[in-house]
Amino acid sequence: MDAERTPGSWKRKILVAVVVLVVVGVAGGVFTWYKFFREEPQPEWITKDPDMRFKYGSIGAERESGIPYWIFYVLPRMFPDKLPKPGGLAALGVSWEQGQELPIGFTQKVVGFPRVANNCASCHAASYRTSLTENPVFVGAGPGHTLYLEGIFRFLVDCAKDPRFNADNIMREIKLVTNLSWIDRQIYRFLLIPITKKRLLERETQFAWVYRKDLPDWGRGRDDAMNLTKYFLLKLPMDNSTGPTDMLPIWNLKKYDREGTTMNWAGDSHDSYSVIIDSALGVIGAAPKNKTEFLDEVKWLQQYLREKAPPKFPFPINDQLAETGKGIFDANCAGCHASDKTGKRMPLAAVGTDPERIWTWTKDNAVAANKAVRGFGIERKGLVEESLVGYNAPFLDGLWLRAPYLHNGSVPTVRDLLTPPDQRPKLFWRGYNLYDPVNLGFVSQGEEAKYVGTRYDTTQRATGNQGHAFGTELSPADKDALIEYLKTL
């Protein structure tokens, strides 16, 4: 009878079922891990060379913020109408070395599948050209004065919002450039494309303020850093503040070792360790998955950037004139820019530059942000929990490549800065990388500058070029000498 064999047979069946389930489960798990989570190290040409590591190395942003490689690849081809001009990604002012697959600051890493994300160098690499018949030179850790960051943010969201951003269209484009396996095609079609679309669309609300017509464009080389922190890390509701400032050079960070110095334009953070952590968290867009790994990377960056030397002025310098200029510098500038006051907060009233950047950030914001980062289990000295009073008197190392000048980049050249505020250029173009060695800054007028750059109008909100009238009374000869000296910094 059936009943007679039931006990042994059922046991065997259950055993078989369990074994099958386990095998299927394990196979499924391995498959899922392999296709979505396995991490492959980046190639050695990146990891073994410190400069390459800074420019192209992952800081762990691919997991959370990475865009699937092939989607990222085809977007500029599919949506050139959402870019400011022809040129693919290059139209967004990224620092892109010839022969490289991705621009500086764009990292490629396999986390299950190849993904593209960013690192510090996307905003902190500068380019300059010494003449119209030279290709650009790229300076890692320099200020990303050509980068149209707001344009990048908008481009990705705008693509996702477009009905053409769908699996059929994207797969058709991908088919033209690579040969994905059947399984990878299904993964792209049914998972990665819809998920990417959804994730990019989620950013739209957080980026709402970059779409506001009543606030001026950041333009090239600037970002509204404190508002990014408020809307992304603190998830605060949009207020009416705006304070885009220039991307900063982050070379030679050991100068901040001196007691009492603070960092960022308004001295809102205590030390380089904290700034690197906070900026990296912004790029990653979430709590780091592996805290130790994250902090190791931060420490490597800190060490690298402490020692990274500012670039030398790439044109001849008249040593004798520079020597004369040093005297003028010592008499007029050193008090703030080469003294104990340097790298420290200075009341706004003393300088009189545009105040709006200060109004984008409060003591409460600092307290909340420090709490949020502590919530990730990360200890750091962090943001200065005080109201902002003014801007730091900046260090001037590598001054020649820090153009345009003042915190909001409202003055194109050093010579313009030595001109009384009401005579400084009111309208110019930012983001062109042809250098002007006479005036110390980038060429900011003319057809090419207009085509490449973004328009900067000093009469808008947060764009004022007033203040810092120091040295504007010097004689023309003294200004020439001073500028010659400044080239040596």
Binding site: P86, A90, G99, V177, T178
Partner: protein, 512 residues
């Protein structure tokens, strides 16, 4: 049943299956269920077979392979063979003369496709598209009445790619390229060949294929549109790097004016081995022969996943050592000997020791535009932004492009096979070598391109004849932007030599 059944089932008499199978209705069920399934499987296998078909026409001889072999371009960009053949029939009014030959394609006797077009059966349909030879092979005649001789590897002097492109765009827009007209034309053409158009092809395959061909041509037309109103390139020239921008879908209407439309001559492609490492392309924007070749292969319709690397590899290897054809007319040896020292003194450091030895301090290097002084339009079409975008081509493959660089001048070319490379300068603005040895003010401001009749006296093709019979040539106006015949002049360039030295130099250059 007992527990034993499990071990010896056959001993227990007919199984349930056998019992069911004995019933009459069950047999019918089997027929109804199984036969359609088998039929579906058969159909699926057939379709799979059809869609996996990927058979190029192959040629054992390398010369034939070069002329008619595939680069893989038909897979992504190919025209269904019969549609391609039918277009000149239905769109005859968009052609300057009868058939594709009127666009300067070279047809050899007994061939149904011109030199430079290949054929491949792909996914159930014969397709055809361009290969390397369409731009790098042409003909020479000794006199207007003589039969043309085909030379491989020379610039395609007579081929008018601008007109070809325009024909396709105009035809795609014309209602006459709809299935209603094209299918009967195909039917007629096939009958002439003794072939028959099948029902499936007539009512399904071709109507769909025609719609796809038109749609894709119109899409391409949309991308090219901003440059279509610009002056015609004329035969033997192409606006290479604006086509590359189209690959990336750069909106051409937004380009600055100086970047738009910079046509230049097709180059010769012999002797690539000694060119390795030199700056290639007119502006020297790449130094790796294989990368340059894959870049050019985009023009034959290939994409990274569909390129036929083996087939292209055959051509690539052959070109490494392919010698240019010898000058076929008499050379005055004594005169040439007098020209040799002139060449050594004036030309060798930039253009090589002779026609085979490409050594020389500046050979294959870029001379800055301000120094060479030739038309800068072609140089300006190639931009830094394009160069970095090209670094993304072949991403994911070990041969991803890494060597494109923006330059600021034109590269000094070796002069092998110089006699076949007229008109001269990158933009083909000077009809003959003899003219090039004159200062720009004395070079012909207007001449005709596209004639394959040779003029041994001045080393170039006959350029002062507007037409020979049905063959109408292109009036080349050096006043058109991009066509300037200036530069490469002055004492250092030999334009101030006495006439007898110039003549001797021309004679010597015939030996290259």
């Amino acid at each position: 049943m007992t527990a034993n059944d499990a071990d010896t089932p056959p001993a227990a008499g007919p199984s349930w299956l056998e019992r069911v199978a004995r019933k009459r209705w069950a047999r019918w069920l089997v027929v109804l269920l199984v036969l359609p399934t088998l039929a579906l499987i058969a159909l699926a296998l057939y379709l799979a077979h059809v869609f996996m078909e990927d058979e190029p026409v192959v040629y054992a001889k390398i010369e034939e392979h070069f002329k008619y072999g595939s680069t893989g371009g038909e897979r992504e960009s190919g025209f269904p063979y019969w549609i391609f053949q039918a277009l000149p029939q239905v769109c005859a009014l968009h052609l300057p003369g009868p058939g594709y030959a009127s666009l300067g394609f070279t047809y050899e006797e007994g061939k149904d496709l011109p030199v430079g077009m290949s054929r491949r059966r792909y996914q159930g349909i014969d397709r055809t598209f361009l290969n390397c030879a369409v731009c790098h092979a042409s003909t020479v005649r000794d006199s207007p009445e003589a039969k043309p001789r085909v030379y491989l590897g020379m610039p395609a002097n007579t081929f008018n790619v601008w007109r070809f492109q325009k024909f396709l765009f105009d035809c795609a827009k014309d209602p006459r390229s709809s299935a209603e007209y094209v299918v009967p034309a195909i039917d007629r053409l096939m009958r002439e060949k003794g072939e028959r158009l099948g029902l499936v092809d007539r009512y399904l395959v071709y109507p769909v294929a025609i719609a796809i061909v038109r749609e894709r041509l119109l899409m391409l037309r949309g991308r090219f549109e901003p440059l279509l109103p610009y002056p015609e390139w004329g035969p033997g020239r192409v606006d290479t790097f604006n086509a590359a921008k189209i690959l990336f879908n750069f909106p051409l209407d937004q380009l600055p004016e100086h970047e738009k439309n910079g046509p230049s001559d097709f180059p010769s492609i012999w002797l690539q081995q000694p060119r390795k490492g030199k700056q290639l392309h007119w502006d020297g924007n790449n130094t790796v022969v294989e990368e340059r070749n894959k870049s050019a292969a985009f023009g034959t319709g290939t994409t990274p996943p569909t390129i036929d690397l083996a087939a292209i590899g055959r051509v690539e290897n052959w070109l490494l050592t392919l010698e240019p054809p010898k000058y076929p007319y008499p050379i005055d040896a004594a005169k040439a000997a007098r020209g040799a020292p002139v060449y050594q003194r004036y030309c060798a450091s930039c253009h090589g020791a002779n026609g085979r030895d490409f050594s020389g301090e500046y050979v294959g290097k870029v001379t800055p535009i301000d120094v060479i002084g030739t038309d800068r339009r072609r140089l300006d079409t190639y931009t830094y932004d394009l160069a970095v975008n090209q670094s993304t081509l072949y991403a994911g493959y070990p041969w991803r492009f890494q060597h494109f660089r923006k330059t600021f001048g034109y590269a000094n070319m070796p002069l092998d096979g110089l006699w076949l490379r007229g008109p001269y300068l990158h933009n083909g603005s000077v009809p003959s070598v003899r003219d090039l040895l004159e200062p720009a003010s004395r070079r012909p401001p207007l001449f005709y391109r596209g004639n394959d009749v040779y003029d041994p006296a001045s080393l170039g093709f006959v350029s002062n004849v507007p037409a020979v019979g049905e063959r109408v040539f292109f009036k080349f106006d050096t006043a058109v932007p991009g066509n300037a015949n200036v530069g490469h002049e002055g004492k250092a360039y030999g334009t101030e030599l006495p006439p007898e030295d110039k003549d001797a130099l021309v004679e010597y250059l015939k030996t290259f």
